[in-house]
Each structure stands twice: as C-alpha cells, then as structure tokens.
C-alpha cells in the first residue's frame, strides 16, 4: 500500500531541487548522451574503434571495472561497524556508503557490458537458458557475486528506507543476517575479481599471490576516501547530521589501508626488480620502460607519488583532523589509486605479449566517451539514491497513510546547521 507513495516521493525527491542540482544532473545527462553516442559507434563498427587490439585485448573499460569493484566492496567497510558493532557514529553514514556501493556496481556492470564484443548474447550467461561455466570460470563467479552483491545492496537499504518511510522502523532480526552475508560478500567480490586476474599463468604480471591482498588494500583506501568526500558534501549541503566520529574513523581506515597498500607495492617492486627474471618483464615495461617503449612510466610514477604524498599527509594527525586536508588527501588518493589499479594494473599485464611482442595501448576517443558516459551514469545513480534516501532519513518523506505521531525523526531542528567544530591549530614550529 505504501509502495506507490514511496515511488512518488522518490520521484519528487529526485526531480525537485535547486539550480545547482539541476545543472549537475543536466551535465551528467549530457555526458551520458555523449557516452551513448560513442557506444552506438562502437556497436555499429565493432570494438575496433577502441584502442584495443589482439595484443592488448583489455583496456580502459576493464581497468575502470577493476577499480570500481574495489570501490563497491569498500562501502561495506562501513557496514560492519555500523550494524554489527553498533557503532553509533557510522549509523548515519551507512546508507550513503551503500548508495556508493550500488552506484559503483552499476558502473562495474556497465563497463563489462560495453566491453564485451557480443552484448546481445549476454543471455548466454544466464544459467538455465544459457550456460554459465561455473565453477571453473572465474568470470562466471564474478557474474554471480556481483549481481548478488547488487541485489543485497539494493534490498537491504530498500527495506530500511521503506520501513522508515511507512513509519515502521526496520527490524534488526530481519536485516542483520543479510548484513553479515553482505559484509562477507563484499570481501569476496573483490577477491574473485583479483583471482580472475591472478589465476592466469599466461600473465606473469598478475600471476602473484599478492594480487588479492593488494586489491583489498587499495579498495579500502579508495572506497572510504570516496565516502569521506561524499559525506563531507552531504554534511555541508544538507541538514543530514554526520558525526565527527564517522569522519575520524573513516579517515583512520583510509590511512591504514593506504599504508598497507604502499607496503604491498614495495613488496611487489622488490620481487620484480631484485632479480630481473622474465617474470618481471611486464613490471619493467611499466616502471622503467622496455626497448624504447615507455608510455605508462610517467603515469605510474605520478600515481605512486600522489599515493605516497597523500598517505604521508594522512599519517600526520593534525592534518588528518583538518577537514580540508582530509578532503584533499582523499581526492588525491582516489585519483592515484584509480591510475595505479586501473590502467597501471590491467594494461601492463598485456605488454609485452606472451610471445614477447610490444604493442602499446592508447584509448581512443570512443573509449574515452563511453568511459565518461558510464562514470556519469554512476554519479547519476549515486545522486538519485542519495536524493531519495536523505528525505526519508531526515524524516521529511513519509507515507501519507501512516499516523504522523508515530514518526520519530532523526534530524536536528530545522534552521540550524552543525557548527563547524574548531580545529585544533596545527603546530607551525
């Protein structure tokens, strides 16, 4: 009975907004249209319009996919303390993190769809009408776990929001077991994606036991970093209250994960460069160039420099506590990890080829257009989810069929803002 008002309320939340909001959505829509046009070119002429070739057969699309799976998994990092450890600080932030997870997953699935050569044959993957080569194929595992994770991340927040919308607070015994499953599932989606790459002896750059842990470390760096940025934006622009504790703890998670990420990078560098065997030839191409080919060298070193600087900044307590430094470091980390784990991971796996040939890769305009379109789609979905969730969480959106008196809002009185907490002055001497 409450579904129709819920949908209408959601529609209203999404379509009503100020000029900045509409400008944002219009920009995203424009980028999505550009991406759609680029994709139509790709559908018409085949994947040859991208920069990929038989040597570098995975490029920008799978790079982004790999990075975004990590983003989706890390959102669950907040779930564990919030729901299971009953950390009050995280309580407010969890739904936003789940929105990030859904948006990242939508982008992941979109990148996979634009990357495959025969998208109309996608039904071949559906067990029952098609044939899913499970459990031998890691891609089959990935299909299952990603869709399952998406379903979990849609169902649980929907249950919670819908419950609040109709004035019936969600029951812990109903969603908590699923939360436990979702937390374990989050780790597994990124491990499966790592195993997808690490299980290929043909690609020595990926064929290492450290790839899975590296993926988790970089995911838990970039994921909370993005959530911090999102929560900072929400705190500044809306009346949704997010405690300082949430930021502090998220920042701590990000910092520790960033340190672990750097340690693992160091470990890989040592392993690949101390004894220059054939196993490390892809790493040589990436970090120092090979036979005159060095297209990726500036990218990877910039990424490492960004990561290192941001990690060091975050390790300094006063800086981490300062919202501006925190936001800056998180943004820098996000970009650095995107390069290091995206094109800095997928593309070097193919260069040189298994037969020693070096064919470099440059994304084409079509690829960049489609990528931009998918990212815009993700941001669009994220915006929609946040816009739907916020009024319900703020208590402003409620079903007209419930008794008003039973509503228990979780918002502070209107007309006030969270006073900016005074920042402990940074020691200058």
């Amino acid at each position: 009975m409450h579904l129709k008002p819920f949908a209408l309320s959601a529609l209203h939340s999404v379509t009503a907004g100020g000029r900045r909001y509409h400008l944002w959505m219009a920009t995203l829509t424009l980028i999505m249209l550009v991406g759609a046009y680029a994709y139509s070119v790709q559908l018409r002429y085949g994947l040859g319009v991208t920069g990929m070739n038989d040597h570098v057969s995975w490029g920008l699309y799978i790079s982004n996919f790999t990075f975004l799976v990590g983003l989706a998994a890390a959102a669950m990092m907040l779930v564990l303390p919030a729901y299971i450890l009953h950390d009050v600080d995280f309580g407010r932030a969890v739904l936003m993190a789940e929105a990030v997870a859904v948006a990242a997953l939508v982008m992941c699935l979109a990148f996979v769809v634009v990357d495959i050569g025969n998208p109309l044959g996608g039904w071949h993957l559906v067990p029952g009408i098609g044939y899913l080569n499970w459990p031998r194929s890691l891609l089959a595992w990935d299909v299952l776990v990603l869709n399952g994770y998406l379903a979990l991340n849609l169902a649980i927040p929907f249950y919670i929001l819908y419950g609040r919308f109709r004035g019936r607070p969600p029951e812990k015994r109903k969603y908590l077991p699923w939360m436990y499953i979702a937390v374990m599932w989050a780790v597994s989606i990124h491990l499966v994606t790592a195993f997808l790459l690490a299980g290929l002896p043909a690609r020595p750059f990926w064929n290492t036991a450290l790839l899975g842990p590296r993926f988790l470390a970089s995911a838990f760096t970039a994921g909370p970093a993005f959530v911090i940025l999102l929560l900072a934006f929400i705190r500044r622009e809306t009346r949704y209250e997010i405690s300082d504790g949430a930021f502090t703890k998220l920042a701590l998670i990000t910092t520790v994960a960033a340190q672990i990420n750097l340690v693992m990078l160091g470990s890989e560098l040592f392993y690949k460069f101390y004894s220059p065997t054939h196993h490390g030839i892809n790493a040589r191409y990436l970090f120092v160039g090979l036979d005159g080919h060095h297209a990726l060298v500036p990218w990877i070193w910039t990424a490492i420099a960004l990561n290192a600087m941001a990690t060091i900044a975050l390790m300094i307590h006063p800086l981490r506590r300062n919202p501006r430094w925190l936001a800056g470091a998180c943004a820098v980390l996000f970009v650095g990890i995107w390069v290091e784990k995206g094109i800095g991971l997928v593309v070097p796996g193919f260069i040189p080829s298994p037969l020693g040939e070096i064919v470099e890769y440059t994304p084409s305009a079509v690829e960049l257009g489609v990528t931009a379109g998918v990212w815009a789609l993700g941001m669009f979905v994220l915006t929609i989810l946040v816009r739907v969730a916020l009024p319900i969480e703020l208590g402003e959106a409620r079903s007209p069929y419930i008794d008003e008196a039973r509503v228990a809002p979780i918002v502070r009185p209107r007309g006030t803002r969270t006073p900016a907490k005074p920042v402990r002055p940074v020691r200058t001497r």
Partner: protein, 251 residues
C-alpha cells in the same frame, strides 16, 4: 495491483520464447520440407535421425578430391617408414596433377620447392639422341647438358660421372655397382646423406603428399633439392595483403 499483471505478462513472454526455442527441436523432427535452397539431401539430419555415424558422406564428395588418387608413385625399396610400414615416392611425370601444387581455399600454391618437369627434361632421350649414339637429331639445340654446372657434390669429386652413369645420363650409379633410375634417386642421395634419408623415411624430413592418414606418398629428394645446386634459394617472405584500414584504431 500492478504486480500480478506484470508477473503474468513476463511469464507469457518467457513461455513464448522458451516455446519457440524448444519448439525448434520438436518441429525439426516432424518437418519434412527442407528450407528452400538447402541441399537436396539433408544428409546430416537424415544421418542423425537414423543414428548413423557423424562422418558426412555427402559432404565428403564435395570436397576437393586429393590428388592421391591420381599421383603416380612407386614403392620405395630398402627404406621403411615408422613401424616398418612401406611407403611410396612420387615419380617424375609431366602430369600437371602431380606437379606438386595444391589448392588452399581459392589459390593454388606450389608445395614443393622445385618443378622438376621443365628443369630436368622429362622428355625421352630419343628426342635429341639418335638411338644410343651421341648424335643430336636437331643440331640447333646445342649441347643440352653442358650448361649444367654442378656445385654439388664437390666433396665427392664433382663431375657428372660421380652420379650419372657414363653411358646413360638417366641412370645413377650407386656404390654397390647397381644403377638407379632418376625416380629412385633417394638411393643415391642416401649414400652420403644417410641421416636425412632416415629422417625422410621417418617423416621428419621432406614432405608427404595430401594426407596424414591412408596411403603414404612422399616427395622425392629432387622435388625440393636441385641435385646440381641443392641449397634452397632465399626468397622474399609472403606479406599478408590488407584491405583498406577500417574505421578507428587497428593493429
């Protein structure tokens, strides 16, 4: 509510699709009329329905027949293939079918390095010589043999009589005193090149004609190596022609 209606519609669509996909199987069995333009005898399906072996007999007939049926070959003496199986060697003839060129798709390529027929002179000696006398019937031809300058076998002496019988150039003298015809030149070559001859009989040297199964016909030594200049000639390698580059990036 909307939900039952949506479910019902989705179920109907799913059932229609499944029916059309599965119906293929049932309809195919019952459908006698073949698709227009299909082969008159749908051998594969008939075979399948009659549960016969899947080797397509009708289709086999459409294959380009191997030249093994027409190639002239002689059984090899003294040498046996793997497992002591006998094999044959191609004979030199002027027949184009055994000219050691084969079709690949729509092109024909030489599969042996030499076309012996024009080189060695497969016409009978009597076209130039009167009987056994070294008299040229047609004086315009000049001396057809003196232009052959041998760079092999320089190690064995390097004159014509090292290999050729002095009284009949079409016979080869063997160490044992026997004479071999040019078709069985392998007997002469093997005297020095015994390891290559071993490999040739075993299958690691030279070429086999047409198939990996069935009648084993090998090319003779002179099908690839000019006895007077046996080293292989260098050549420019094949380069795959490419149509106009497609839109966008390419290899």
């Amino acid at each position: 509510m909307m939900r039952p209606r949506v479910c019902a519609t989705a179920m109907c669509i799913a059932l229609m699709w499944v029916n059309s996909a599965c119906g293929e199987r049932d309809r195919a069995a019952a459908d006698v009329r073949t698709a227009p333009g299909a082969p008159a005898t749908d051998t594969a399906r008939v075979n399948a329905e009659a549960r016969v072996a899947t080797v397509d007999t009708a289709r086999n007939k459409r294959l380009e027949p191997g030249a093994l049926a027409t190639v002239s070959a002689a059984p090899v003496t003294l040498w046996k293939g793997p497992g002591d199986q006998p094999f044959e060697v191609t004979l030199r003839t002027a027949d184009p079918a055994s000219a050691l060129a084969r079709r690949f798709g729509t092109i024909t390529m030489r599969t042996a390095l030499r076309m012996r027929a024009p080189n060695v002179g497969q016409f009978p000696c009597t076209s130039c010589h009167l009987g056994r006398a070294m008299v040229l019937a047609d004086k315009r031809v000049g001396d057809a043999h003196q232009n052959i300058e041998s760079v092999h076998p320089v190690q064995a002496g390097g004159v014509c009589s090292t290999c050729h019988a002095p009284d009949n150039v079409e016979l080869l003298t063997l160490k044992s005193g026997e004479r071999a015809t040019l078709d069985h030149a392998y007997r002469l070559c093997a005297q020095c090149h015994f390891s290559q001859a071993d490999a040739w009989a075993g299958g690691a040297h030279g070429k086999r004609l047409d198939g990996w199964q069935g009648r084993r016909v090998l090319m003779g030594c002179a099908d690839c190596h000019d006895p007077h200049k046996p080293a292989l000639e260098p050549r420019i390698p094949f380069r795959a022609p490419q149509l106009k580059r497609p839109r966008g990036h390419d290899r």
